[in-house]
């Protein structure tokens, strides 16, 4: 495995920015190299955090899905929530964790819509659950944010 992967990618970024980019033969190539440094910086950030985020967010979604499953009346949606709560990723590979996250996030979209409908119909529990979902989404988006200067 690459030793200190994020740091290694950072060294590649420095090499491109300091040594290769100034030698670019035209503006188009220079612009592309600039994009490469930015993209590699983002790859380095994801390299380190991806598995952690995918595992911790799956755990954070469990109580939201459980609460929704207990309250929402749609049996089909309830069944899919129950299935999602039991779902195990076949490994801790980022690709497997991502595939599991895709299933639960797709389910979250449906759950959120149903919770909004229930809130509009005056259900107090739905208001609290909607807030929980927004709290999750705010944390999710902040945790996935890239730290780059642009």
């Amino acid at each position: 495995m690459i030793p200190k992967g994020s740091q290694a990618i950072g060294h590649l970024v420095t090499r491109i920015a300091q040594d290769l980019l100034p030698k670019a033969s035209d503006a188009y190539t220079a612009t592309d190299l600039g994009y490469f440094t930015l993209l590699l910086t983002m790859v380095a950030q994801d390299y380190d955090r991806a598995a952690d985020l995918l595992v911790s967010e799956h755990a954070a979604l469990q109580p939201i899905l459980r609460a929704a499953g207990a309250r929402l009346a749609d049996p089909a949606l309830q069944a899919r929530i129950a299935e999602a709560l039991q779902m195990e990723a076949p490994s801790l590979k980022v690709s497997d964790l991502t595939a599991r996250a895709d299933v639960t996030m797709k389910l979250l979209i449906e759950v959120h819509a149903a919770v909004e409908d229930a809130e509009a119909a005056g259900a107090d529990w739905a208001r609290a659950l909607n807030e929980d979902i927004w709290r999750f989404l705010g944390t999710h988006v902040a945790a996935h944010a890239y730290d780059v200067m642009l």
Binding site: D26, A27, Y28, A30, T31, D32, Y35, F36, L38, L39, M42, T98, A101, D102, M105, K106, L108, I109, H112, A113, E116, N130, E131, W134, R135, L137, G138, V141, A142, H144, A145, Y146, V148, M149, L150
Partner: protein, 345 residues
């Protein structure tokens, strides 16, 4: 010289010899960076004593924005004829015989640049006031007189917002590589809270922002670029897009890195003769972020499907999607600190 450049030089030489001046020669051919929706080249065409700088926009195999070249060309042509600063349109060529792909040619606007980073600080205020005054002038045009009916679908004051929303919602559903619960929550919010009918129908540029106009060293805006998403709709759509926090990420208090938001709105109102309804504007602000996610998701999908290796598509798909989601959470979450909500009136 690479083979792509040689191929283009030969093809453009033949084209200009046939369509512009017999004996036309192409020189100073250079690939221009930053054009994400079309492959863009600068050239000098010379025939005897005639010499003219031109810009060639060639259809890509894929692009950031899946749009029709004819719409872009005709919108730019209409704007130019209406007195809006825009490049003079010269040729729209859809015959593949010349370059293997359709292309358009406009007159070069010499001595200008588009870069927000390179903008002289002493001219920012002036450029900002022009930027939104020109957008106001575009909003004030009567779209019925522009002759664009054959390239732009008809719309109405009552339906234009829903049409745009459903178009971009479909793009997101079809192109998202991973489910995006924030975008879907925003789409539902927009459907639940429709805006009032547009004050008027206007020519909407569709991507009016800092970076998409050319300014001279003295701070005069000489040309509005990138009309490929132009359509008929609510003029507030362009205003909201032009002031999206994405275009002023490091300085959210300055719309487009140029003016305080309220000053930008005032310049637009003076140019258009219209009045901004803050409630309607809020809808278009949320819509702008959803539309942005649609564009960035599409570009990411193109990149990951391997249809294009252009890094700008990956950059848009990764970084811009991330930021646009943060903007939407800021707008819609009950726990938002509203970092991106600025006073506009």
């Amino acid at each position: 010289m690479d083979s792509r450049e040689e191929q283009l030089r030969a093809g453009l030489g033949r084209f200009l010899d046939a369509k512009w001046r017999p004996g036309a020669q192409v020189s100073e051919l250079a690939h221009i960076p930053g054009g994400a929706s079309r492959e863009t080249w600068r050239l000098r065409a010379t025939a005897g004593a005639d010499s003219r700088g031109m810009i060639v926009r060639i259809d890509p195999e894929t692009s950031l924005i899946d749009t029709d070249r004819r719409t872009e060309y005709r919108a730019m042509e209409a704007a130019y004829r209406a007195g809006v600063p825009a490049p003079e349109t010269l040729y729209l060529e859809e015959d593949l015989a010349w370059l293997g792909r359709p292309f358009s040619i406009t007159a070069e606007v010499p001595g200008c640049q588009a870069s927000a980073e390179g903008m002289p600080p002493e001219h920012r205020d002036r450029i900002g006031r022009q930027k939104w005054a020109i957008l106001g002038r575009i909003a004030a045009l009567d779209p019925a007189t522009l002759g664009l009916g054959d390239v732009m679908p008809a719309s109405s004051r009552e339906t234009c917002a829903a049409e745009q929303l459903e178009y971009w919602a479909k793009v997101i559903v079809e192109d998202e590589l991973h489910p995006n619960p924030v975008a879907h929550a925003a789409i539902r919010w927009l459907r639940r809270n429709p805006p009032p009918p547009a004050q008027k129908l206007s020519l909407v540029h569709g991507d009016y922002r800092t970076g998409n106009f050319l300014y001279a060293p003295d701070g005069e805006i000489r040309a509005i670029l990138d009309w490929e998403m132009a359509h008929i709709g609510d003029p507030l759509e362009d205003l909201a897009w032009s002031m999206d926090p994405l275009w002023c990420w490091q300085t959210p208090e300055l719309a487009g890195r140029l003016l305080p938001h309220a000053d930008a709105v005032r310049a637009w109102e003076q140019g258009s003769g219209l009045v901004v309804d803050p409630a309607a504007f809020r809808w278009w602000q949320v819509f702008a972020a959803v539309k942005g996610i649609g564009i960035w998701i599409s570009s990411s999908e193109d990149f990951h499907a391997g249809r294009s290796k252009a890094p700008i598509l990956a950059m848009a798909g990764w970084l811009m999607t991330d930021r646009q989601q943060r903007i939407l959470v800021d707008y819609l979450s009950p726990f938002s600190q509203h970092r991106f909500v600025e006073r506009v009136k």
